[in-house]
Symmetry: C2
Subunit: 363 residues, 2 copies
């Protein structure tokens, strides 16, 4: 068993103690006589698991009492449709900021569904090398919400601050930065996130929604997309993705055990600094993202030579540093250094980068 450093953007690394615990209790969970995978979602054993998961997440993120926590399926992509379907009736129109591929998809989905939506800001013309600056006056005061993607996995950018949207609820996709650092939940109307980057295996979608926003769903919304139905049924309107929720619980437990999100942030800041400081100290690799928009989770860089980029990803893979190839739509390299990536993984990456640069001089 030779574990490698996996820089995948998602699904991605999980903490080794979490995997080991899951393996140890996979066949038989505690005194239950069965696997968590086999438990009725209505059984006391399982109810304890999902309740613990929610309680731990609330503690971890300091989620205010007037927010519901939903454990859903379908990925952030399903929320691209669910967001307007659940909120549009608030005022009839909604605003979007487009800072990369996924926020673009969210905007297009709302358009496809026929809603009155407006893109109020985008950095597309700059190839998304930074996030747009959003000020209150840019947002339509009668927008049902402003939608943003807080951390852009593909481009490696992140909003340096939570935009001030005034009275307009802020709806944010946090898929690739959730529980990487403390965040003031009360600044958001809705937070959603696919679990497969920083929280659990793929197949779980987290929605955190302010209670007063549960009353604006379309009549013709598919029941399974309606947050209110899910909230009223404690995420158990139908069978939830039970095992993946259990895995999320183990991850929350692990973060709490090391000191919560303050400590997690400290560790993530240190890892990201190691990599960005190296990038800033040399000129073999170029970090395309503007400094104020840099993501702490996804670090993108290029050599400036597509063939060298390819060689880099391939040789890094052979050296046990996997999945460093950038997203197929942008090329170059991307190191996703989520919570579960150890500091040693980033050290190994920087050492490899130095070695590669020395051995592969540019013309």
């Amino acid at each position: 068993m030779n574990r490698i450093y996996n820089f995948s953007a998602g699904p991605s690394m999980l903490p080794l103690p979490v995997l080991e615990k899951a393996a140890a209790e996979l066949v038989c969970y505690g005194e239950s006589g069965m696997s968590v995978m086999e438990m009725s979602h209505r059984s006391p054993d399982y109810e304890a698991i999902i309740q613990d998961a929610e309680a731990m997440l609330r503690r971890l993120m300091n989620i205010p009492d007037n927010y519901k926590v939903l454990f859903l399926q379908g990925g952030a992509s399903t929320q691209f449709a669910a967001v307007p379907m659940n909120l549009i009736k608030r005022t009839g129109k909604a605003d979007y900021a487009v800072s990369g591929q996924f926020s673009g998809k969210a905007f297009k989905e709302a358009q496809k569904l026929g809603y009155d939506v407006k893109c109020i800001a985008t950095t597309k013309e700059d190839n998304f090398d930074h996030v747009p600056t959003i000020t209150k006056d840019m947002i339509r005061p009668d927008a049902a919400y402003l939608h943003i993607c807080f951390n852009n996995t593909i481009y490696g950018t992140k909003y340096p601050e939570i935009p001030d949207t005034g009275d307009v609820p802020l709806v944010a996709d946090l898929s690739s930065c959730i529980i990487s650092e403390p965040v003031d939940v009360s600044r958001f109307g809705v937070i959603y996130a696919g679990a497969q980057k920083n929280m659990a295996p793929a197949g779980l979608t987290l929605v955190i929604v302010r209670e007063d926003l549960l009353d604006y769903a379309e009549e013709k919304i598919p029941t399974m997309l309606e947050w209110k139905t899910m909230a009223e049924n404690g995420s158990m309107y139908n069978t939830p993705p039970c095992y993946t929720i259990y895995m999320a619980k183990l991850v929350y437990e692990w973060i709490l055990s090391i000191g919560g999100l303050d400590v997690m942030k400290e560790m993530n800041v240190k890892k990201a600094a190691l990599l960005y400081d190296y990038l800033d100290s040399q000129d073999y690799y170029i970090a395309p993202v503007k400094k104020e928009s840099r993501s702490m989770m996804n670090v993108t860089f290029v050599t400036g030579d597509a063939d060298l980029d390819k060689k880099f990803a391939s040789e890094a893979g052979k050296a046990g540093l996997k999945n460093l190839k950038g997203h197929r739509s942008v090329g170059g390299m991307r190191a996703s250094i989520y919570n579960a990536m150890p500091y040693e993984g980033v050290e190994a990456l920087v050492a490899f980068m130095k070695d590669f640069a020395a051995k592969n001089p540019k013309n």
Copy 2:
């Protein structure tokens, strides 16, 4: 580690060799250096897994080439909306047979979404103690499809034969009987099933759809509910529930290893016969379902005394026979004896039933 017999209706037992294999390779899969849970869904290692899963299922169910196999999220409940949204444009109206709670929910969801749907048959007035007889002349010739639930988990009923729907495509929820016996896929337009009863942990939904039915989706269907989008992207329009698909693959592999669905059916017939033969041989317990509608997977029975029923479920649980309580909406007892329930489990149940009857005479 003391595994018990788990008669849960879903999530439910998984084959022990499958759980043991999953546990053994949970932390590190083969030479990959990572868990399957951590693999990028775009990586060669994972692509091999999902392709194997589909190939094995095709072999197991003998799925014709003109059917697409989709690995989705959201449960059968999401398909209650997806079915009309994907098919209604074929003719503009659709027919439903209501044989229990889930087929009733499917019908109501289509109504809620505003479609022209008709219930052509129901056995509600008989408390769903049998399935309706469906003949071709009952179906509107211009229906986009006829929807049925093939096996009714809650009531313990099943259609004895696939209804002949003529030229109208048959759409069937097979959640609680999929891969329990061979079935002629070519008789269906669409088969769908939540995985958590006979196939995998919760969080995976299987859709098998005839290719010519992929062109009738509504314009305003959420992209994630559109079968065609999923088919064109090999179930990877977004990140699929990777680990649950891997678990399904292990289950398919296990069934193939013991001889495929013919052998599986033989085993299931034998298990169900043991229980039904006992029920028919005595008069302490009553099996409410009419013989020709009996399910091979979910066996319901009552003592006729609610207090005794309660005592039965409670004492059985203490004896290591768990989750025998009937669905909260119907009461009594239900033994779900899916593929993974060993013959010995049903033997133990029958022995317990005899013992309980002897010790608890009715007044």
